[in-house]
Amino acid sequence: MYKIMLVSVVAMGGLLGAVASQETPAAKVETWKIDPVHSSTLFRIQHAGAGRFWGRFNDVSGTVDWPRDNAAAPGFDVTVAVESVDSGNANLDGHLKSPDFFNAREFETMTFTSTGGERVDDTHWKVTGELTLLGVTKPATAVIEFTGLRGNPVLAKAGWEAVFEINRSDFGMTWGVDRGALSDDVQIIVALEGGIEPGG
């Protein structure tokens, strides 16, 4: 009897061990649709060599390809409508939309499409891709922070925050650079919330 019990325990243990040693299958990459209401794009620039002022774009859309286990870098395809620029001052918004800056009549959007990424730590990725502004496409790198995941396999929300540092003159936006009216370097912060919905 003892022998049978011993054999059973050893067999169970072996079975459990075999199950435990098996690798967890990697989560599949899902396409997360950006929620424009809970996503923001902000930019920061130095004015007159003095203060830094912030502005935002109110219309962000696109998708993020990402596995829920965060095992691979998120793949971004983000579009920002340039006409949605909002600095809190109507005249300044008009100037930002004018040919001096974003030239919104000609170039309605700016886009970022990622091409790859490397892990920095558990929550951060360094993502490379192509940024298109004023019709000029240049390689750009952003530090991405994975900010959270909530939900279930059917309904879920996930968040990321990307920080870009660019020189606007690389894209042909030169107004005020030479004489220091506005700095050349701009920080762009994109906070995204993506969602998965049934049938989505």
């Binding site: 007159a48 109507a90 008009g94 100037h95 040919p99 030239n103 000609e106 042909g172 107004w175």
Partner: protein
């Protein structure tokens, strides 16, 4: 104490902003204007050169082109080909119109058929080099060519110093409208043209003996360039400036054509010149007067 400190900081920041605005105007208007004046002076001052009427007229053409292209260079940089943005075709177009304007300057005074052909060439160049957003190329061509033809024909009978004043008024109005439409670079470009028209008039007064015989107002180039800048600013405007204002800013030229019909064409002298100047300047002055409060508001951005 804190209040005093923050007030000092505020004053320093506002003086820095004013300093930068002054610097921008200096580089984009004053320096191109000085370059234009040098050309006018060098060509029109020496008696030997000033004897050639076409040379003085050509000097004004070159001065206007230098003012616009110089202002573009100081605001945006060297024009590149192909233009990376549609409105960056503007300096190329102005150089092309300048080349056509040099031929216009060499034509005999009564040669109206040649001037029509040159205006068509200017219109075609505009249609090709300045594909403005939401505007048909043919519309751009007709407006630019038509404006060039008007000023070319207005300059034809004899040197009209009133045309300099009309050009100054129209370009000033365009500059203010572009500023209201939040287009600072185009506003500075129009400002450079206005300053050059004023300088041409002043140089004409100083060198009256020589300039009044041989000088000019830029002929085809004057009207075409003002139309090019105004049309570009209008195309990028988000309906901030009413459409009538863009049209009225340049309405002095077609109005002045009425003074070139029949017996009025031979009406000369101080009073005739004054009436012509008033007719040319009244529409743009009305535009500036009506839009003046809006300009002050636009400065706050």
């Amino acid at each position: 104490m804190t209040m005093c400190k923050s007030s000092l900081h505020l004053r320093a920041a506002s003086s820095r902003a004013a300093e930068q605005m002054f610097e921008q105007v200096l580089w984009s208007v004053v320096f191109p204007l000085l370059a234009a004046c040098v050309v006018l002076g060098v060509v029109c001052y020496p008696r030997i050169l000033a004897r050639h009427m076409w040379l003085c007229r050509a000097a004004v053409v070159v001065a206007i082109v230098i003012a616009v292209v110089g202002s573009f260079f100081f605001s945006v940089g060297w024009p590149t080909w192909p233009p990376p943005q549609k409105w960056h075709g503007l300096p190329w177009l102005v150089m092309a119109i300048g080349s056509i304007g040099l031929i216009d300057a060499c034509l005999p005074r009564g040669e109206w058929a040649g001037r029509v052909v040159l205006s068509i060439a200017a219109g075609l160049a505009a249609a090709w080099l300045l594909p403005l957003p939401d505007r048909l190329a043919i519309t751009t061509g007709v407006i630019v060519g038509g404006a060039g033809l008007l000023t070319s024909l207005l300059e034809m009978p004899e040197q009209r110093s009133s045309l300099n004043i009309g050009g100054w008024a129209a370009a000033t109005a365009m500059s203010m409208l572009a500023l209201i439409a939040n287009q600072v670079t185009l506003s500075l470009l129009a400002g450079a043209v206005a300053a050059t028209c004023a300088a041409t008039w002043v140089v004409g007064r100083i060198l009256c003996g020589r300039m009044s015989r041989g000088g000019g107002a830029g002929g085809l180039v004057l009207g075409s360039v003002i139309a090019v800048i105004g049309l570009t600013a209008w195309s990028y405007d988000y309906d901030i400036v009413p459409q009538w204002a863009w049209l009225a800013a340049g309405a002095g030229f077609p109005l002045a054509c009425m003074l070139e019909i029949g017996a009025l064409k031979r009406w000369n002298g101080f009073i005739a010149a004054s009436v012509r100047a008033i007719v040319l300047s009244t529409p743009p002055i009305i535009v500036v007067a009506i839009q003046f409060e809006t300009v002050k508001g636009a400065m706050s951005g």
